[in-house]
C-alpha cells in the first residue's frame, strides 16, 4: 500500500470543503460521540462491579488489576484484532460491537483503579464515625463513601473519556464512523487531502477538551463541599 506523495501545490486547508460537508461532519461527530458514550457507559458499569468485588474481597484486587492492566497494555489495534474474529466484522452491528468490546476493555483499568482508590481514600475516621452512628454497609457506601470518592472517580472518568475519544479514531480502520473516518479518508485518496485529516484531528481533540471540561464541571457541581475549601 504505497501512497502517492501529496503535491506541494495542494492547499493545506480547504474551507470550502468544510462548508460543503457540514452535514457529514456533524453526522460523524455524533457517531463518534455515540461510540464513546456507549463505551464509557458500559465501562463504568463493569468497572463499578469489578471495583465492588475488589473492595468486598481484598484478594480479588490483584488479579483484577493484573487482568485490566494487561488489556490496557495491549495496543488498541491488537485488541480490536483479537475481538474481531470472535464477533465478526461482516455487518455494521458486528463492527460496532467489536469496537465496543475493545474500547470498554481499555477503560477498565483506569476506572476500576480510580474507583477503588477513591473509596479507599475516604478517611478511615469518617467511615468509622458513620458506622458508629448506625450506618450499615450499603448505606455507608452509597451515602458517605461514594460521594467523598466522587473527585477520584470523576478524575478516572475524565481520563477514560479522553482516551476513548482518541481510540475511537482508530476504529475507522474497521470501517466504522466517527471522526477517524475523515482521517483515513483524507489519507487514502489518490492525492492526500490534508483538510479532511486536519478536520478529523482537530475535532477529536476539541471533542476531548469539551467532554473533559464538561466532566470537570459535573464533578464540581456534585461536590459543593470541595468548593468551600477553595479548591
Amino acid at each position: 500500500m504505497n501512497l502517492v506523495v501529496a503535491q506541494a501545490a495542494t492547499p493545506l486547508f480547504d474551507w470550502d470543503w468544510v462548508t460543503r460537508n457540514l452535514d457529514t461532519i456533524l453526522e460523524k461527530t455524533l457517531e463518534h460521540l455515540q461510540l464513546t458514550g456507549v463505551a464509557l457507559g458500559l465501562g463504568l458499569l463493569l468497572s463499578v462491579l469489578l471495583a465492588a468485588v475488589s473492595i468486598w474481597k481484598a484478594r480479588a484486587y490483584k488479579p483484577i488489576a493484573a487482568f485490566t492492566g494487561a488489556l490496557y497494555t495491549i495496543p488498541s489495534l491488537a485488541v480490536f484484532a483479537l475481538v474481531a474474529p470472535i464477533i465478526g466484522i461482516g455487518t455494521p452491528s458486528q463492527k460496532f460491537w467489536t469496537a465496543e468490546v475493545a474500547l470498554v476493555s481499555y477503560t477498565l483499568l483506569i476506572l476500576v483503579r480510580n474507583i477503588v482508590t477513591g473509596i479507599q481514600g475516604v478517611p478511615a475516621g469518617v467511615s468509622e464515625a458513620a458506622r458508629g452512628m448506625g450506618y450499615q454497609e450499603g448505606g455507608l457506601l452509597a451515602r458517605i463513601e461514594v460521594p467523598i470518592a466522587i473527585p477520584a472517580i470523576i478524575a478516572g472518568v475524565r481520563i477514560a473519556a479522553v482516551t476513548v475519544i482518541g481510540l475511537v479514531t482508530v476504529t475507522s480502520l474497521l470501517g466504522l464512523g466517527g471522526l477517524g473516518f475523515f482521517i483515513l479518508d483524507g489519507l487514502r485518496r489518490s492525492i492526500i487531502f490534508p483538510t479532511e485529516i486536519i478536520v478529523g484531528v482537530v475535532l477529536s481533540v476539541g471533542l476531548a477538551a469539551v467532554i473533559d471540561l464538561g466532566l470537570l464541571m459535573l464533578g464540581r457541581s456534585l461536590t459543593p463541599w470541595m468548593r468551600a475549601q477553595g479548591r
Partner: protein, 249 residues
C-alpha cells in the same frame, strides 16, 4: 454471518496455518524482521525522547520551577490522539517527499513519548522529602551533587515508571503506522488483514497475537529489569509510596 458457519476450531486452525506458512517467519515480510522493525521504531524514539526530556525535567524539578508546563504537558499528552497525530505528521512529511515508513512515525513517537517521561521525572524530583534535600545541602554537597547524588537516586523508581509507561505507549502506537505504508512493524498484518475484510481475519488475529505477546513481554521485561537498575536502598522505600506517586497518562 460467515463466522457462524465455521467453528472456533476451524478458525484457530486457519490461524495456525497462517503461522506455519513457509517463509512466514524469516522472509522480508516475515515475523522476525517485522518484530525487529517494530522494536526499532519504538526504541529509537524512546532514546531520543529520554535524551531530550529527562535532563530538562530533572533540572526543572530540582529548581522547583516550571510546574505550569508540567501540568499542561500532562493534559496535552493525554488529549492528543496518537492516530491522528501520526497521520498529520505523515501529511506534512509527504510534502517534502520523505519516505512515509520511517520519519513521520519516529517524529510522532518522540512527541508521544515525551509527556510521561517528562512529567514523571519532574514529579520524582519534586516529591523527594525536603528533609533529605536539606540534609544533602547541609553536609556540603554542591547543587549538582544534591541533584545527582540524592534527588535522582531517590526519585529513580518514579523516573523508571515514567519510562516504562512511555515505552509501552510507544510500542502500542507503532502498529498504527501500518496505515501509512508498508511499515508499522507487526501492525502491518492487522491492517492488511482488515483491508481484506472477513477473509483476512486469520491474519488479523495472528498479527494481534504477535503484538499482544510483544507488548506484554516488554512489560514483563521491565518488571524484571527494574530491580537490577535501581539502587538497593531505594527499592526498600515503601513500594506503595512509589506506586501512589506514579502517574498514569
Amino acid at each position: 454471518m460467515d463466522e457462524s458457519t465455521r467453528s472456533i476450531m476451524d478458525f484457530l486452525a486457519d490461524v495456525v496455518a497462517w503461522f506455519s506458512e513457509s517463509g512466514r517467519w524469516l522472509s522480508g515480510d516475515g515475523i522476525i524482521p517485522r518484530t525487529a522493525e517494530h522494536l526499532w521504531l519504538a526504541i529509537l524514539p524512546m532514546a531520543i525522547a529520554i535524551a531530550l526530556a529527562l535532563p530538562l525535567a530533572v533540572w526543572l524539578g530540582h529548581r522547583r520551577i516550571g510546574e505550569f508546563a508540567v501540568n499542561a504537558l500532562v493534559n496535552v499528552g493525554r488529549a492528543v490522539p496518537s492516530f491522528g497525530l501520526l497521520i498529520l505528521a505523515a501529511v506534512f512529511f509527504s510534502r517534502s517527499g520523505v519516505s512515509l515508513r520511517f520519519w513521520p512515525v519516529v517524529v510522532t513517537l518522540i512527541a508521544l513519548a515525551i509527556p510521561p517521561i517528562f512529567t514523571n521525572a519532574y514529579t520524582a524530583i519534586v516529591t523527594v522529602r525536603p528533609g533529605s534535600v536539606e540534609a544533602a545541602r547541609g553536609v556540603g554537597y554542591t547543587e549538582n551533587q544534591v541533584l545527582w547524588e540524592v534527588e535522582v537516586p531517590i526519585g529513580a523508581p518514579l523516573i523508571l515508571a515514567g519510562i516504562r509507561i512511555s515505552f509501552l505507549q510507544v510500542l502500542a502506537t507503532v502498529p498504527l503506522a501500518a496505515v501509512l505504508s508498508s511499515g508499522g512493524g507487526l501492525g502491518q498484518y492487522v491492517v492488511r488483514g482488515f483491508a481484506r475484510g472477513t477473509s483476512g481475519l486469520d491474519e488479523v488475529f495472528a498479527g494481534a497475537l504477535l503484538i499482544a505477546v510483544l507488548t506484554l513481554g516488554a512489560d514483563w521485561l521491565f518488571t524484571k529489569l527494574e530491580p537490577l537498575v535501581l539502587p538497593e536502598g531505594v527499592r526498600r522505600l515503601s513500594s506503595t509510596e512509589v506506586r501512589a506517586r506514579a502517574s498514569v497518562s
